[in-house]
Symmetry: C2
Subunit: 207 residues, 2 copies
């Protein structure tokens, strides 16, 4: 399990800032991320646009595109999410339907089992639980990038509720295993844990 | 669903402090709770004793017993838990084994559905996620008062892991529904939610 990093800290290319209202200064990338976080918080994920973030940061939209391929990527970087949720969704959907529960558990816990992923996921969890603003931003982004595509692919009645309940279980397991260290969940080996979760998550999805 | 309050704020009787190192002053109860929280944090639930808490608070053990029936009650009051976990365990275990999953979902969500219960549970959740100390105290107390008795009654291999996984699912549902307000889990009616959770939790326990 090697969650692909999203290349934080690296611009798309090493080239200079393109033509625009303002060339890329030393912390242009940081300013764009700050403007993006503000926009995601104030307007939500759907209503946020690259153009709006550029205006807020006082730079040209082309410069935002120089650093970030898309609004999705801007969100991932702004919230310091350790893996690309679109890749997570793709990996979950790649395989037989009757193994969905197992793949979801494997992919999700894989992110947490890496040291870097765990550290960043912990920070996100703590922010979500203590800040209504971060909670609002995260719930919209994750819904759009993971829960919605998996629900569409599932194609059963109440798919959205089913997939959301799977998400709640995984969130609870992560909280218990990595943050609260509730035993025996915290020290159970990963394979056993996935074996326990797979049929239960599958029941939520297709049972 | 009427979770029984644990009578916070009320002494066991209105009588004066009994004989002891120090009679009950105006905030004796508060001092005992502070000493209890310190002891639960420093020594854990198991190693904490009424006698030790009394010593820490500078009062006689009889005075602690005047306010709190037992160490369990001291824990419940010190951590501001909105319902008595021992009663929760008793209600979960009272009924047919094949309905365990449904009873657990009903009892647990019932606490959260009351306005007072929800407010206090939210405060506990936020503290658990942000403070390693509170996390340690809560995980030991809840393990001893709910997870352990339910696991013993279940009497299957890996009972403790099974019951703990049920707990993770409920924790995740509570987090999503009441703190993060993730849709559609947040607005699904309680009966539908319990119908979805019951067979899945049952699978964890006896599947």
């Amino acid at each position: 399990m090697t969650p692909s990093a999203t290349g934080r800290g690296a611009a798309k290319s090493a080239g200079n800032g393109r033509a625009g209202r303002r060339p890329g200064g030393p912390d242009t990338r940081g300013e764009i991320l700050r403007a993006a976080r503000k926009s995601f918080a104030d307007k939500g994920f759907t209503a946020t646009s690259i153009r709006g973030v550029a205006r807020e940061a006082g730079v040209d939209a082309a410069l935002v595109h120089h650093y970030f391929d898309s609004k999705d990527e801007l969100f991932i970087e702004a919230m310091a999410i350790p893996v690309d949720p679109r890749q997570i969704a793709a990996r979950i959907l790649d395989g037989p339907r009757e193994q969905l529960g197992r793949r979801i558990a494997t992919v999700f816990l894989g992110v947490w089992e890496s040291a870097d992923g765990q550290q960043r996921m912990k920070a996100i969890f703590r922010s979500v639980v203590t800040s209504d603003e971060v909670a609002r931003i995260m719930r919209e982004g994750i819904t759009q990038m993971i829960i919605a595509p998996v629900s569409r692919a599932l194609d059963v009645p109440d798919a959205h509720l089913r997939v959301s309940l799977v998400a709640t279980h995984l969130i609870g397991v992560a909280l218990a295993r990595y943050l609260v260290e509730l035993e025996p969940v915290a020290s159970t080996d990963l394979a056993t844990l996935i074996d326990r979760l797979a049929p239960v998550l599958q029941h939520h999805l297709t049972g």
